[in-house]
Every structure is written in C-alpha cells, then in structure tokens.
Assembly symmetry: C2
Homo-oligomer: 129 residues x 2
C-alpha cells in the first residue's frame, strides 16, 4: 500500500554516483557526535583512555568506550596495550582513520564559517514564525 512496485522508474535519481545504504551506515557510525570529537582529538596524537576523557570532559566513560569500540571495529582507531603490569592502553588513529581528518577539518571549518548565518536563521525561525 505504501510502496509502489514500479521497477521501470526505480532508478529515477541516478545523480552522479551510486550511493549504497552501506555507505550511509558507515557515515552514521563514524560521523556521530562523539566520534568526531574522538577522531579530532586522536588526530593530534595518541591518547590514553583517561586522557581522552579529560580532553573531552562531556563524554561519559560508557559512551567513550562504546565510541572507541565502534571506531576500532571500523578500523579508524587502534587499541594498543602499552604496559601489562599497570594496565595501560593507548588509542591511536590508523592510516584509514587519518583519511577522514581532512573531511573532519572541512566540516569543522564549514560549521565555523556558516555558524553566524545558521544562528541568524534560527533566530528568524524561532522568533517570527
């Protein structure tokens, strides 16, 4: 009732490239709130777990753990056990994760550049609509 089974017009929006749902999922996993923070922080230099917590005070341990696991699973960061005796781990960005750095910088640059316009739009929307 909702879907229209017309395979003829199914490929009506073939813009430039084929974008698979899988690509979207990947972006979902990698571009979320904390991932951006973590990747951005780790791009500077490797960090210990609690070092990351201090660098990003607003994240909780649980969310940080989850984010690091997710990024590790996707090959963006690497979990390195530095010391056994006093257990110490270090997280560092991988070569694959590094390919994201330019994009993250671009995103942060964009948000900084257009923030005034966005705040203006928000004020208009909130106040006069």
């Amino acid at each position: 009732m909702v879907d229209t089974p017309d395979p003829a017009s199914a490929q009506e929006q073939t813009t430039t490239v084929q974008v698979t749902p899988t690509q979207r999922e990947l972006l979902d996993e990698v571009l979320d709130k904390w991932s951006l923070h973590v990747l951005d922080t780790l791009c500077e230099r490797p960090r210990r777990f609690n070092e990351l917590r201090r660098a990003i005070p607003v994240v909780t341990q649980k969310s940080l753990t989850a984010t690091l696991r997710r990024l590790e699973r996707n090959g963006m960061v690497e979990r390195v056990v530095i010391s056994d005796r006093p257990v110490a781990v270090e997280y560092r960005i991988t070569a694959l994760g590094d390919t994201l750095q330019d994009l993250i910088d671009a995103l942060l640059g964009w948000s900084g550049e257009h923030l005034p316009a966005v705040e203006d739009a928000r004020a208009r929307f909130d106040g006069e609509d």
Copy 2:
C-alpha cells in the same frame, strides 16, 4: 606526523582553530542520518513531502517531519507552500544548505572509497578478536 610535543602547556590543545561546542552542535543537527539523505535528495531538485518519502523509503513520516523542521530551523531548507486549496508544500534547499553539498559529496565519496577497507577491518575485528 604529529605536531611537536608541547610539554610546557598542559592546557587544552588549540590545534589550528578554535572549535566551539556550538559548532559541534550544529554538525550534530545537520549531519545526522536522515539529514544527509534529505539534503542529498533536495540538492537535486525541490521535492514535495511525499515525494521525499518515496525517495527515501526507509524514513518514517515522523522522522522526516522532524528532520525537515530541524533543517528548516537551521536555514538549510526552505518550506514553500505552493497551493492553499489542496494544501501542497515543497521543500527546497537554500543557499546556505547548498554550501554543504560539496561536503556531503566528499563524505559520500570518502565512504565509497574506503568502504572495502572498513569492511575488511570489521571482518578482522568481528572474527579474530
């Protein structure tokens, strides 16, 4: 690869630019799962509400409405009432939203390019760890 270690300042690390929490919030509002879909779709051409639903079948009305409101509030899309008698609205991307298009394309391009590597990493993580 990493900037020269800075033992003197144990302060926050100001890499190149100051990134405010506000910028992160903006990216959170604009880069979420459905926003990427919607912006990408609207970049092609303006669409009606149900046209968007058909273009992005996996989104629910509720989420689509919420996404469009959020994007509208942030000045990314514009809600245009075309016809009053049979109520008809059209959503179109704004000039501000258009500044995101390059970034979105870059993100989709990145995900397409590195998807194999990511899937490889996932297989390694899931299977042998």
